[in-house]
């Protein structure tokens, strides 16, 4: 197991290196950081001097080597826009994004799995049809539209929930959390729903499809014939067997949730990594963009690793193989 994890972590280094390389080769098309860093009245000579100081005139390979070299030594550089250390800026924003992503994931699971089971067991019921229709809207409407609609309904018209920001947060050893105040939870609800809707629909449809498939299999029929109580049949025997593909997809999707929370964060002015990334694009803040993409790549790798390990926990057959 330890060898497996170690191997995966070494692989992840290459993934991150590849991402950094791709990102770096694209940055030159994003724009010119110097014109974003200086004012209108700054002379061309002063702009050139700054460009030279920041090493932007160096060949691509030199710039990339410097970036990766510094990163490997733990030096993440300084933001062009705010001049703050990039590591600190990203670290400050990670809690907001992770908390949002986790709550969105939990919402999608506690609604999506039961709804999937229900619609699989009563495929032709009115309630099932309604749920399926509603969630279809959930996947077809773009995230920012859902966000804006929720804001206007619950924030502006009804005035129940805040329209932007994180509300009250509590510092716990460098981790700024929304989980410990009422205001923090109130601010979390709308963005988490917005971010979770797509995931929820996906989970539900996946569980439904798998469940229907499993319900048709022989062992369920035999179990039914043997008189296993329905409740036990559905939730122990059937549902457990649908979980392997569901966890794969959900796990992989979670990486996506973190990466694509950009849209939700922008709509709700949620101060996470995605919002920071958007601001950085606007200012062509190359160090922040580079580090963000590498961190996201790392995140994907870790999530995949966790998914692989969950298989082992869920599927006893894999454990046996491992032992053998």
């Amino acid at each position: 197991m330890a060898y497996f994890i170690l191997k995966r972590l070494i692989q992840s280094l290459f993934v991150m290196l590849a991402v950094a390389f791709l990102a770096f080769s694209l940055f030159r098309f994003v724009g010119d950081p110097i014109t974003q860093m200086t004012g209108v009245e700054t002379s061309v000579a002063d702009q050139e001097r700054l460009r030279e100081e920041l090493g932007l005139n160096d060949p691509f390979v030199t710039q990339f080597a410097r970036f990766t070299g510094d990163m490997l030594q733990g030096d993440f550089g300084f933001s062009y826009r705010t001049r703050q250390p990039v590591a600190e800026m990203i670290a400050d924003r990670i809690p907001a994004t992770l908390e949002l992503g986790i709550v969105a994931l939990i919402i999608s699971l506690i609604v999506g799995i039961p709804a999937g089971v229900y619609t699989a067991l009563r495929p032709r019921g009115v309630v099932s049809q309604t749920i399926l229709m509603t969630t279809l809207i959930g996947v077809s409407v773009p995230t920012f539209v859902i966000g804006i609609m929720l804001i206007y309904l619950f924030g502006v018209q009804l005035g129940w929930l805040p329209t932007f920001g994180r509300g009250g947060t509590v510092q716990i050893g460098g981790w700024e959390s929304s989980f410990f105040t009422v205001d923090g939870w109130r601010a979390l609800i709308l963005p988490a729903i917005t971010l979770g809707v797509y995931q929820l629909t996906l989970t539900m449809r996946l569980v439904r499809a798998e469940m229907m498939e499993v319900m048709r299999s022989d062992y369920i029929r035999f179990a039914t014939a043997r008189g296993v109580p329905m409740r036990r049949l559905y939730f122990k025997h059937a549902l457990a067997n649908t979980m392997v593909p569901v966890i794969t997809i959900i796990g992989l999707q979670f990486g996506g949730v973190i990466a694509f929370s950009i849209v939700t964060e922008s709509v709700f002015q949620w101060p996470g990594m995605g919002l920071l990334f958007l601001e950085s694009i606007r200012f062509v803040d190359i160090p922040v963009m580079g580090v963000y993409l590498v961190v996201i790549a790392f995140f994907f790798v870790v999530v995949n690793l966790i998914v692989d390990m969950l298989y082992v926990a869920i599927d006893p057959r894999l454990r046996v193989k491992d032992a053998a």
Binding site: F29, V30, G31, D32, T35, Q36, M37, T38, G39, V40, E41, T42, S43, V44, A45, D46, R49, L50, E53, L54, F78, R81, T82, R83, Q84, P85, M89, I148, I151, Y152, G155, V156, G159, P162, T163, F164, G165, S266, V267, F268, Q269, P271, L275, L276, L278, E279, I281, R282, F283, V284
Partner: protein, 525 residues
């Protein structure tokens, strides 16, 4: 009926009274961009300078109507026997940490702001020497007579020498942050209570401020909100009191609601089209590849006659723009009253001019525009392209974000381009220096004259304008420049952009034409 109405009115009154009594303390506002730094010398951009004007002060400052008034200097006079200005400083001023303000701080701030590491150093290009005379007198010696020097340093903010040196912030941070990036110590009416960059910045009044407070704010909370729909929702839900700016299309929505108001004004920014005067051939043309028709002033005039500003105003801007005849709007010093006419909308005349120039069927060319820099910039360019097409000027439009727009213009990658210009000094000399004088990197002139419009007489007039002390004689020189550039259609000035802000009804504030928002004029009723 009558009774219940009265009693409910009473209830409303008490609710209103108690709620205003509570909310009179905190003022919350939002804008699209977070100030990048708290260092007033590090970045010469409007979001930073506007914000820092709440905390730091200059020798002079601009009033609600943009006029120059005393701030840390109580008076200033031309030096006798040499070029420059003597500033008499205000006595009894203290920084927010309690230390006293003297001419040493001005001297230090000058050295800091004119250093290579500072982005505002271009303000001090005319300065030859600075001399401390005594604790409250300081001389700025300039290389030539410079009547506008005091106006040009209204945003030159003064730091405390001991504080900056003591905290290793003697120079602005260039590549890494320093103490002054996140901390402040100014003489201004507000001081920084807390800052979370990009999330929340809190200001509180500076108790020891020398001035008389005109505001009633006890705490001001700033949140950057990049997404305009989110910003509007935050205002309408009551979570913020004021937002700058709001998109033109949301004006009606705010006006319809009770308890909110739209604040409209005219910004000093003039939107214009520029040409590649120096280009030998068109870059993006399908039909004219061996010449650049825009080198002919009559072709440029034809392009000007093709544009129907009134329709653009009505359709795209809901009647909120002011057509412009020159590169500054009326009311700015140096505005040429003698040349206040702009080319009329006259497509027939445009076609005639093109035929006379040898292009009876017109020609195609490339038009470059931003899509995120000015209000409705992309829509404006689409409208202009179709108006050009109506007279035979087939504009191939390409739009893009501003972050890679300037580099393209600097590389001469355009036939015609869109530009907005706000005169930093609020004087006509500013656009002449940056947009009309020939490109001259050595003298740092014409640095935004992308097409390199060049006229020997204009180049000759600029230093004369800069040095002329007599207002009438100076205006005559400016009039001459405006007349020349209009006759040659150096640019096509289109209109001045509106300023559209929105606030709750109980907020009173001042909308200054430079798009600066200052807390010291805010009243929460």
């Amino acid at each position: 009926m009558n009774y219940s109405l009265k009693s409910s009115a009473l209830v409303c009154m008490t609710v209103l009274l108690s709620s205003t009594a509570l909310s009179a303390e905190t003022f919350r506002w939002a804008s699209t961009t977070d100030p990048q730094t708290m260092d007033p010398h590090a970045v010469n951009s409007a979001p930073v300078l506007s914000f820092m004007n709440n905390i730091y002060e200059g020798l002079v400052r601009r009033g609600q109507d943009m006029s120059i008034e005393p701030s840390l200097a109580t008076s200033w006079n031309p030096l006798e026997g040499e070029n420059g200005w003597r500033f008499t400083l205000r006595e009894g001023v203290t920084f927010q940490d309690g230390s006293a303000f003297t001419s040493e701080d001005v001297m230090f701030s000058y050295q800091r702001a004119s250093d290579e590491a500072a982005d505002v150093r271009s303000w001090f290009a005319p300065v030859a020497d600075v001399r401390v005379v005594d604790d409250f007198t300081i001389d700025f010696v300039t290389t030539a007579p410079n009547p506008l020097f005091p106006d040009s340093i209204a945003n030159f903010m003064i730091l405390d020498k001991d504080w900056a040196e003591g905290n290793d912030a003697a120079l602005p941070a260039r590549d890494a942050e320093n103490f002054a990036t996140m901390n402040v110590n100014g003489t201004g009416p507000f001081t920084l209570a807390s800052r979370d960059p990009g999330v929340r910045t809190v200001l509180t009044p500076h108790e020891g401020w020398w001035g008389e407070a005109e505001h009633n704010v006890t705490e001001a909370i700033f949140t950057p909100i990049g997404n305009s729909a989110t910003g509007l929702a935050a205002l309408l839900s009551g979570e913020i009191d004021f937002i700058q700016p709001i998109p033109l299309q949301d004006v009606a929505q705010v006006e319809e609601r009770d308890g909110f108001k739209v604040l409209e004004g005219e910004e000093t920014r003039v939107i214009m089209f520029g040409f590649g005067h120096e280009h030998e051939t068109l870059i993006y043309s399908d039909d004219v590849t061996d010449a650049n028709p825009f080198t002919d002033p009559n072709v440029r005039l034809a392009a000007a006659h093709a544009l129907d500003i009134d329709s653009i105003n009505r359709v795209l801007f809901r009647g909120k723009i002011q057509p412009a005849s020159q590169l500054v709007p009326a009311g700015i010093s140096g505005y040429s009253e003698a040349n206040s006419d702009r080319p009329a909308y006259d497509p027939d005349r445009a076609r005639e001019l093109l035929a006379e120039a040898g292009y009876p069927d017109g020609f195609s060319f490339g038009l470059k525009c931003t899509n995120d820099r000015y209000i409705n910039d992309e829509a404006l360019c689409r409208a202009a392209a179709s108006m050009f097409a109506a007279v035979g000027l087939n504009a191939e439009l390409s739009t893009g974000p501003v972050r890679d727009y300037w580099p393209q213009l600097r590389e001469d990658d355009f036939d015609m381009y869109l530009l907005g210009w706000s005169p930093g000094t609020f004087d006509m000399e500013h656009p002449i220096r940056f947009l009309m004088h020939s490109q001259d990197d050595e003298k740092k002139l014409g640095s935004w004259n992308f097409g390199n419009y060049s006229n020997a007489r204009v180049d000759e007039l600029l230093p004369m304008i800069q040095q002329e002390i007599d207002p009438a004689a100076r205006q005559a020189l400016v009039d001459e420049v405006v007349a020349i550039t209009q006759a040659e259609v150096a640019y096509i000035p289109l209109y001045t952009q509106p300023l559209i802000w929105a606030a709750k009804d109980n907020i009173e504030l001042t909308q200054r034409a430079d798009n600066f928002f200052l807390l010291r004029w805010v009243t929460v009723n």
